[in-house]
Amino acid sequence: MTDFHHFLRKAGAWMLALVAILWVGGSFAGPVEAPRSSERLALVKQRGSLIVGVKTDYPPFGFLNASGASEGFEHDLAQDIARRLGVSLTKVAVSGANRLQKLEEGSVDMLLSTTGDTAERRKIVTMIEPNYYSSGVTLFMPPEQNINDWSETRGKKVCATQGSYFNRIMAQRYLLELQMFNSARDAKLAVKDRRCIGYLFDNTAIQGDLRLPEWAGFKAPLAPVLGTPWAIAIARREAGSEFERLLGDIVADWHRSGFAIQREKVWGLPASTFLADTHALWKKLDASGKPLCEREVSGHWPSVCRNPVFLNSTDTTGLRRLGLWFKENTGLDLSLIYDEYDRTRFLLGLGTTVLLMLLCVSGSLFLGVLGALLAEAKVLVISRLIWIASVVGRMTPPLLVMYLLLFGLGSMLMTTYGFSVSPFAVVVWCLSFYTGSSITTALLFAADVQRQANPVFQLRWGNMRELVATSSGHVTAALINVSKATMMASAVAVPELLSVATTVMTENGNVGVMMNVLLLTFLLLIFATVRVLKLLERKLLGMSQ
C-alpha cells in the first residue's frame, strides 16, 4: 500500500515535470526584463497631456452627445489611461481612413478608435496586447423573426453590403444566400420590407442602429461570429518600449478588475462573450496561486493568455507548437488535435453521438418488439391502435416529428405548465418510434408468413427468437439506419458530432480538414455498429438454432 502511494507520488511528480516542460517551456521564474525607454512616453509626460485618436461617429463606442461633447465606451477607456499616467486627455476625432496615417505622422500618441487587430496592420503599427474588445458579424433582424441560432440561417436569403470582407466567408461557411446592396441604408430598408431575414453586418455597428427610434423592436440576437479583436495602436517604432509595456499592463488590469465589463454595462452594450471570457482567463490562478497571465521574463504574455490568432509555432510549446508548425508548413489546421478546447468539444460530441446511437438502437428494438407483441396479443382496440401507430410512424419524417414535439408541443407545454422538453429525449423518442414502427411491421409480416404454414401461430415472447431469426435482415438493416440517422439531432441543437464539427469548422475555417475527419469518423462508427450488430445477431440467434 505504501509502496503504491510512493509510486503514485513519484508518478505524479514526473507528470508535473512533463506538464511543466510542455506548457511552461522556457519560462523560468525571475525578474521580468525591463523594456527600453520610450520617446513618446517621455513626450506625453513633458507635454502633460495624452493625445488619443478616437471615433465620434460610432455610437455607443465614440459619438457626440446632444450637447455636442464627445463620449462613449472608448472615451471612458482613454480617460482611464490618462488618469493612470497622471496627465490630461486630449481627444482628436479620427476616421477609419485617416487614423493609421495620423499615428504614423505622430499627431496622436495612440489610437483607441475601434481599430481591428490584424496581421496586416501589425506590419504598420504596434498593437497592444491584450485586445480590449472584439467585434463580430451578426444579423440585424426584424422583430418577428424567430431565429436564435446560426444553423437556422442555412439557405436563407440574407441582405449584405457589397465589399464587406466577411460576405464570402459567411456565404461559404454558413451557407447563406446573400442579396447584395450598395449601401447599408438600402440593405436595412430591404430588411424592413422583409425581403431577407436580416442584414449581415458588424455587430458593433448594428448596436448604434438598434438605439434609433426608427428601428424600435429590431434585434440582433445571434452570437457574433468571425470575431475581430480590437487593439490600442501605437507607432511601429514604439514596439518593445516602456510605453507598450505600460499600456498592455493597463488593458490587462481592465480585464482583471472587470473595468471593461463595467463600462460595457454603463453604455448599454449587450454582454460580449469576448469580455466575459477574457475576464475569466485573466483572473485565473496557476497551480502555485499566482496569476496565470503574468508577463514572462522576455516581457511577453504567456501564450495561453494571448489571442491564438497571432500565435505562431515559435511562440508556443508542446502539442500546440507541433500543430501550428504542421499548419504553417502544410496549410492543414488540425485544431481538434492540438487545441485543448476543440479537442474536448470534439470528444464530447463523439461521446454524445455514441450515446445517441446506443439509446436509439435499444429504443427501436424495445418499441418494435413491444409493438409486435401487443399487436399479436389480439386485444381488439390495442392491436388496431398499434397497427395505426406503426403505419403513421413509418410515414412521417422523424425530423418533422422532432420539430412538432419540441417546438409545437414543447412551446405549448412551456407556456401552460412551465415544463421544458429535452431535445435529446425527443430525438431518442422520435428515431426509436420511426425505426420501431418498421421493426414491428417486419415482425408482424414474419408472423403472417408463419401462419401460412401453421394457422394457429401467435407471436409471444417465447417464440420471439425464432421469428426474429427469419426477419433479422430487415431488423438489422433498420437498426443500422437508425444509428446513421442520429445525426439528425444536430438540427435541434443537440451537441453531437456533426454539430460540433460544423461549429469547429466555422470558427477555424478549416472546412476541408473537418469535413474529412467527420466523414471518416462516421464511416468508422457505422462500420463498428454494423460489426457489433452482426455479432449480436449471430450470438443471440445462432444459439437458438
Partner: protein, 218 residues
C-alpha cells in the same frame, strides 16, 4: 374559442401553395436520387454477378461503403466540399450547383447500396427464367423510394427550401408561435397522404405477384 382555429386554418390555406411547392421539391430530390442510385447500383449488381472474382470483390467493397456512409453527413460533405458554382470546361458559362442537387446525390448513395443488394437477387432470378420473382423488385423499389422521400426532409438541415424548411420559414416570417404545431402537423399529413396510398398499392402489387408465383417453394 372557435375563432383562433379558423384563423389558423386561414393562415394554412394562404401558405398552402408555398408549402406544396416545397413538397414537390422533396419528391424531385427523392426521384433524382432514385434515378442516379438505381443506375449506379445496377452497375454494381452486374459486377457482383460477374464471373471474375476481382470484380465481385470490388463491387462488394463499394456496396459496403455506400451502405456505411450516413446520408446526412455526406450531404454536409458535398455542400461544403463542392463549389456552389463552377465554370463549364472550355467555355465561360457558369453553372450553379444548387443545394437540392447535393441532397439528391447524398441520398443516391443509400439507393446505390439498396439497388446493388436487391438487384443481385433479381437479376439472378431473371437469368434463371423466374421472371415473376424478379418482378418483385418493382414494389420493393417503390417502397424504398418512399423511405427516400421521408429522408429527403433532412435536406432542410443544409438549407434546401423543401417542405420542412418552408415550415420553419412560415413560422419565422409570421412570427406567430401558435402556428408552429398546426404547420408541422400539416407537413406530416402531406408526407402521410403521399406515402400511404402508394404503400397500399405496392402491397396489393406484391400480393398479386405472389399469387402468380404460386406457393413459395421455401
Amino acid at each position: 374559442m372557435n375563432l383562433p382555429g379558423l384563423d389558423v386554418l386561414r393562415e394554412l390555406i394562404t401558405w398552402t401553395p408555398f408549402l406544396l411547392t416545397g413538397f414537390s421539391l422533396n419528391i424531385l430530390i427523392a426521384s433524382l436520387a432514385m434515378v442516379i442510385g438505381t443506375g449506379l447500383g445496377w452497375g454494381l449488381a452486374l459486377l457482383r454477378l460477374s464471373s471474375r472474382p476481382r470484380r465481385v470483390k470490388t463491387s462488394l467493397l463499394l456496396t459496403e461503403l455506400t451502405r456505411n456512409v450516413p446520408t446526412i453527413v455526406f450531404q454536409f460533405y458535398l455542400v461544403f466540399m463542392l463549389p456552389s458554382e463552377f465554370v463549364l470546361p472550355g467555355t465561360s458559362i457558369t453553372l450553379g450547383f444548387p443545394g437540392w442537387l447535393n441532397a439528391s446525390l447524398a441520398l443516391a448513395m443509400a439507393v446505390i447500396g439498396f439497388t446493388s443488394d436487391n438487384l443481385t437477387t433479381t437479376l439472378h432470378d431473371w437469368r434463371k427464367g423466374d421472371h415473376a420473382a424478379a418482378l418483385l423488385f418493382l414494389p420493393n423499389w417503390t417502397s424504398y423510394m418512399l423511405i427516400i422521400v421521408i429522408a429527403s426532409s433532412t435536406a432542410s438541415i443544409i438549407g434546401v427550401s423543401e417542405l420542412v424548411s418552408r415550415c420553419n420559414t412560415v413560422i419565422n416570417a409570421t412570427g406567430n408561435t401558435r402556428l408552429m404545431f398546426p404547420v408541422y402537423l400539416y407537413a406530416c399529413v402531406c408526407f402521410f397522404l403521399f406515402c400511404y396510398p402508394l404503400t397500399r398499392l405496392m402491397q396489393w402489387t406484391r400480393a398479386q405477384l405472389a399469387a402468380r408465383l404460386g406457393p413459395a417453394p421455401h
